[in-house]
């Protein structure tokens, strides 16, 4: 194809304009872009859902992290006086947006990542942060798939799906439930706990998994799974999905006259669960890491949170708070903002006090104990039922 005179001119002008601006900014010709400056605030990336159906949890996480940042900054910051700054990016639980968010955070010069809620959206972030030598302290996402990546920069401070399943099985045996039905909502997180619990139940042998099935999230009518459960007639139903569908299934099970007990996983621990499920929610168990409400001695923390954000803390507020504190500690230990040094510092941490107990990472960079406890709904609220110790 022949280039016309006009277009050559246009193209030339365009290129010239672009090239002249190139010198003064982060273009390909303009030197290296990644500035880990030695002064100024230290940025922590937090890629979490701000929009979409998981947005409420994103807000809890952001507030928890912000609270830690404010406290640390008030106490003089890190590395002898440098302030922390939280860089929150939206991922909407979508891989494409989380990759964009992670890249944006890297471009902004983040030093440590303290986000990660939806496992499916967190997975593709790993290579991006890994390439930039940025350690990821993941406060919430806990799919076994994240562990399987075996990436040297991934540290998970929420219990893994495996640990949650172990806690569930411990409680099931303790309470003497003989038959269990496992139901997930076909999301990465939920299916992970379902399969993990099933394989542990089968390996253990004392309890029987009479049903293991999935439903489609986002519907209203779950009569199919209710039929299946009524047919299998288990003494316990373990719902491993989120609260939206969990509430509906609990309600429909109770309306169908289900007499057994129901237990939910941590994704369903939300005040709305009891509202949606109605009267049937009373006495529902949950496997969950400690929430501020169930922790002894967290009253001050809750009061501070309420003062700062005019709302109650929610799921993963504490984990996000701890993630930021842990990041600050690691930066101080490493005496630098260099990613490799911070990763070393994180690996070496022993006994750092968190809401879930003293921290020491396993070789897989997960918590040595998940810190899972059993909650139960009493009077429409989750309260501690059994700390499994």
């Amino acid at each position: 194809m022949k280039l016309g005179k006009r277009s050559t001119l246009l193209m030339g002008v365009a290129t010239a304009v672009l090239l002249t601006t190139a010198g003064c900014s982060g273009g390909l010709l303009g030197g290296g872009g990644n500035s880990t400056a030695d002064s100024g605030p230290i940025k922590l990336a937090m890629v979490i859902p701000i929009s979409g159906s998981s947005a409420p949890t994103g807000a809890y996480m952001r507030n928890g992290a912000q609270m830690a940042v404010d406290e640390i900054n008030k106490d003089g910051g890190v590395l002898g006086g440098r302030q922390l700054e939280l860089d929150v990016e939206d991922e909407a639980c979508d891989a494409q947006q989380s990759v964009a968010g992670a890249n944006k955070a890297v471009s902004n010069g983040a030093v440590v990542s303290v986000g990660g809620y939806c496992s499916g959206a967190t997975l593709p972030e790993i290579p991006i942060f890994q390439k930039a030598d940025i350690p990821m302290i993941i406060p919430a996402a806990n799919s076994q798939d994240l562990v399987k990546q075996n990436a040297n920069n991934v540290f998970m401070i929420n219990g893994t799906g495996k640990q949650q399943s172990t806690a569930a099985l411990t409680f099931i045996k303790k309470q003497g439930f003989a038959t269990v039905a496992l139901v997930d909502d076909n999301t990465s997180y939920s299916k992970d706990i379902n399969t993990e619990t099933r394989s542990q139940i089968e390996a253990d042998g004392t309890v029987k998994a009479v049903l293991s099935t999935s439903v489609t999230a986002g519907e209203s009518d779950y009569s199919a799974v209710v039929r299946d459960i009524m047919g299998a007639n288990p003494s316990l139903v373990y719902w491993t999905g989120y609260y939206q569908e969990g509430g509906l299934i609990i309600n429909q099970l109770k309306n169908a006259g289900f007499a057994g007990k129901i237990m939910v996983a941590d994704g369903s621990v939300d005040p709305s669960l009891a509202q949606i499920a109605g009267a049937g929610a009373e006495g529902v168990y949950a496997t969950m890491t400690q929430t501020p409400e169930t922790l002894k001695g967290a009253e001050d923390w809750i009061a501070n949170y309420k003062k700062a954000f005019k709302s109650d803390p929610g799921p993963y507020s504490t984990q996000s708070y701890d993630a930021v504190r842990l990041a600050a500690k690691a930066i101080d230990d490493a005496k630098s903002t260099d990613g490799k040094a911070i990763i070393k510092a994180l690996e070496a941490i022993d006994g750092f006090q968190m809401f879930s107990g003293p921290l020491k990472f396993t070789p897989e960079r997960t918590l040595s104990s998940g810190g899972f406890v059993i909650l139960a709904i009493k009077g429409g609220k989750f309260v501690l039922e059994d700390d499994l110790s």
Binding site: S223, L248, G278
Partner: protein
Amino acid sequence: MSQLIWDGLFVGSFYALIALGYSMVYGIIKLLNFAHGDIYMLGAFVGFAALTSLGGIPASLSIGALLVVMLVSMLLTGTAGVLIERLAYRPLRGAPRLAVLITAVGVSFSLEYGVSAIAGPNPRAFPIRLEGNVFSLLGARISLPQIILMLIAAVLMILLNFYVQKTSTGRAMRSIALDRNASLLMGINVNSVITRTFFIGSALAGAAGVMAGAYYGKIDFLMGFIIGLKAFTAAVIGGIGNIKGAMLGGLVLGFVEAFGAEWFGGQWRDVFAFAVLILFLTLRPTGILGERVTERV
């Protein structure tokens, strides 16, 4: 087995209520109102807003309150349907199908995310809940709320059928569906009849929305999307444009889904429903009760 049939019938009656609106509008102006499922969602949220503004309702009054709220919601969603027709569809009445369909997608988006912007993206728990005894009939567990809701649905459908078959407006609707030009010549006010059609179809969907809120207890701004698709499927199965067909199609789809979920597992239910839609459209596009339409050029 009888449980399966009952569950299918119950879900099917919801589909039928929504499918009616789809089918009526399509029968009369050949418009596929993509946003119809979102009217159902709108109905649920209007009911939610009405009930929360009323404040605490004693449990004993819940059925009465529900009926009142349902009427309010039907009025408002009906009006919303009329407004949508006036603002988005009427200006395009002579336009190509493609343009109208894209507009309908736009209306659907606007309703969904408009509600999400006002009421927030989180699911809401419906303020009143129909609760009642469960009893067993021929081996199926049947609850009182289910019977009440199915009765309401049946009454609405019978009223509609009476309206379309016996009143002059109903006759006008049927005549427009047959031949709009001739109706115009016979002195029928076509625009006003179309407005009424939209009102009735949207009001039925709004009623279904309130019923779903009260029965299931959870509403969210995307609840109309899948059910809209299912209602369309039901309308096609019964024969689109045919009112009795829509009712029949809803029930048939309810059955088919219940059996599909039983055989293939719950996570394949939607796949199964859409596969049935595609099968019907390829093998018998006129549906069960539809008549063969000769295409005139």
